[in-house]
Amino acid sequence: MRALVWIIEDTWQATITRAAAYLSADADITLLHVTNTEPETLARAARRGLLGRHQPPTSAREPLQAISEQAAQALLADAQDQLQRPAARQARRGRVEHEVTTAAEPMDLLILARDGDHQHLGPHSLGPTARYVVDHAPCDVLLIWPDATPPLTTIPSPPPAGTKPR
């Protein structure tokens, strides 16, 4: 089985722990990290907004890209260390949700962590990015809680009978 484990900065450790527990020994694992290029683009655009000044020469190496690429590689290396199993590593850049669904295309299973509210069961436990990935994944999906799974009591009580659904 080909399994893609998508890790993000805040929750990678929990994702790796669960992936190691769920995946059989013969699983063919790929670790994926996607760098959201939006902050780099914004930082560059803000510099351009300073009309007529501080323009970096066009030939200059993009320092922020170097920082984020290095950070992505370091994160993937740490994730593999924690997994303690052979795995391929993939570092992508761009619109995160698009990159993850593209990377999942040749896979049988995608493992990811909920990226929203981690203390209550419910739709807010998925942020816009993971929501898109779950909705559009071209393979099966295993969705994990990034820390303790919230109890059933965290579901808000249903509205009294007779209230109109919003």
């Binding site: 902050p39 930082a43 655009a45 007529g52 000044r53 761009g94 990226d115």
Partner: protein, 415 residues
């Protein structure tokens, strides 16, 4: 030369100069474009030689002030102030994205207010980005905060934004009085940003926090901070001792630069680059071009549109018009056009103009709609990445910030 023709010519020169500054073609710099445009307007008689000299002399001390502040910021960078700020944030955050955002807010606002928005955008933002990467948390809210606070927190002091420096002399206020009147508006603008950011980025900020090794307490660059503190104290005392603030800026720049030159930790080339000589020429040229347009009728057009009273509705209208103009043509030319008219009406309208031209650019991530549209047309390298979120964030914060800041300015003026 007929007034109408001269006005049209001056506006065309202004448009071409701004076009060059935005499009940055390889064959001509914006400094050359502004200089050639200014000389052309003098030669054809759209602006008299004495008017041009008057405009340049009026801007001379402002440009000198700016150069001194750029040298001080460069000195702070050299002494490691910005890296120390990064370490301070990482230590204070303790693994929590929301606490990191709080530190970014405070530090970005202070750096912007004291060392200008340029220092925030050019020197602090990369450090914040690297800090978030090292902390392994989403850089998005943190970098967005730097970009927004570069504008919102730049209300506070005359040195926080070049627009303020351009208006400072015309406002007739002392450094301290300027800061006192703008303190509440700045707090309000930053407060609005905080409320909107913590909700807008709730998903990124509420991820589980992890306990990691706490970074060591950073070594703060005492010398650079000392120079900075003394320079600020000089600014505050400037009206009491009867010395213009620009001289304290020059003294601070000398104090932080000369020892580095002697110890050879700074090279003359790097210092000249830090002062941005091309930009200083651009500002002077832009000043002459706008003076030409103003002298030939732009002035009366602005006077017809801009309210000149000190009532709250007037101040709100001034702030709104300034924000719109700043988005249409970028905030430097907007300031040059609006401030002479606003100054005739007193400090209140000048400060309301600054609230508009400083906060307004948060509506677009490149400073003005003109630039944004141009980059879209150009399909520049970043057009494939959607920054629609920045535009939504601007739409959420800018009107509320303008309103809150202007109301508090009015309160301050009547206190």
């Amino acid at each position: 030369m007929a007034d109408d023709l001269a006005l049209v010519l001056a506006l065309v020169v202004l448009a071409v100069t701004l076009g060059v500054a935005v499009a940055r073609p390889a064959f001509v710099s914006e400094a050359v474009a502004a200089l050639v445009g200014a000389v052309l307007l003098v030669v054809v008689g759209a602006v008299s030689f004495s008017q041009a000299v008057h405009a340049v002399r009026g801007l001379g001390s402002t440009v000198g002030f700016l150069a001194a502040m750029l040298l001080i910021a460069e000195g702070c960078r050299r002494d490691g102030l910005f890296d120390a700020m990064g370490a301070l944030m990482a230590r204070g955050a303790g693994g929590s994205p929301q606490r990191l955002l709080a530190f970014v807010f405070v530090i970005a606002a202070v750096i912007t207010a004291v060392l200008s928005l340029d220092a925030n955008v050019v020197l602090l933002t990369p450090v914040v980005f690297a800090t978030a990467a090292r902390m392994r948390t989403s850089a998005k809210p943190q970098v967005y905060a730097c970009a927004h606070l570069a504008n919102s927190a730049s209300l506070l002091l005359p040195v926080s934004n070049l627009t303020n420096l351009l208006a400072f002399h015309a406002s007739g206020l002392s450094f301290l009085h300027f800061g006192a009147l703008m303190a509440l508006p700045t707090l309000a603008a930053v407060g609005v940003e905080w409320v909107v950011f913590t909700r807008f980025f709730a998903v990124d900020l509420r991820r589980p926090r992890r306990a990691g090794a706490r970074p060591a307490r950073p070594e703060l660059p005492r010398f650079a901070l000392g120079v900075l503190a003394l320079t600020l104290a000089g600014f505050a005392a400037s009206s009491l001792v009867g010395v213009a603030p620009v001289w304290f800026a020059a003294a601070g720049a000398a104090a932080i630069t000369l020892p580095a030159l002697v110890r050879r930790t700074a090279t003359p080339v790097r210092l000249v680059r830090a002062v941005e000589p091309g930009f200083l020429v651009f500002v002077l040229g832009l000043g002459v071009i706008v003076a030409a347009a103003s002298a030939n009728g732009l002035d009366s057009a602005v006077r017809a549109v801009l309210p000149t009273g000190g009532s709250l509705p007037d101040l709100l209208a001034i702030a709104a018009i300034s924000a719109i103009l700043a988005n249409l043509v970028n905030n430097l030319p907007a300031t040059l056009m609006l401030v002479p008219v606003a100054a005739a009406a007193g400090p209140g309208p000048v400060l309301a103009t600054l609230i508009g031209v400083n906060i307004g650019p948060n509506l677009t991530y490149v400073g003005s709609l003109a630039t944004l549209l141009w980059r879209r047309i150009l399909r520049a390298e970043d057009s494939d990445v959607e920054l629609g979120e920045f535009l939504r964030l601007g739409a959420l914060t800018v009107p509320a910030s303008l309103l809150a800041a202007t109301v508090l300015l009015w309160v301050g003026l009547h206190a």
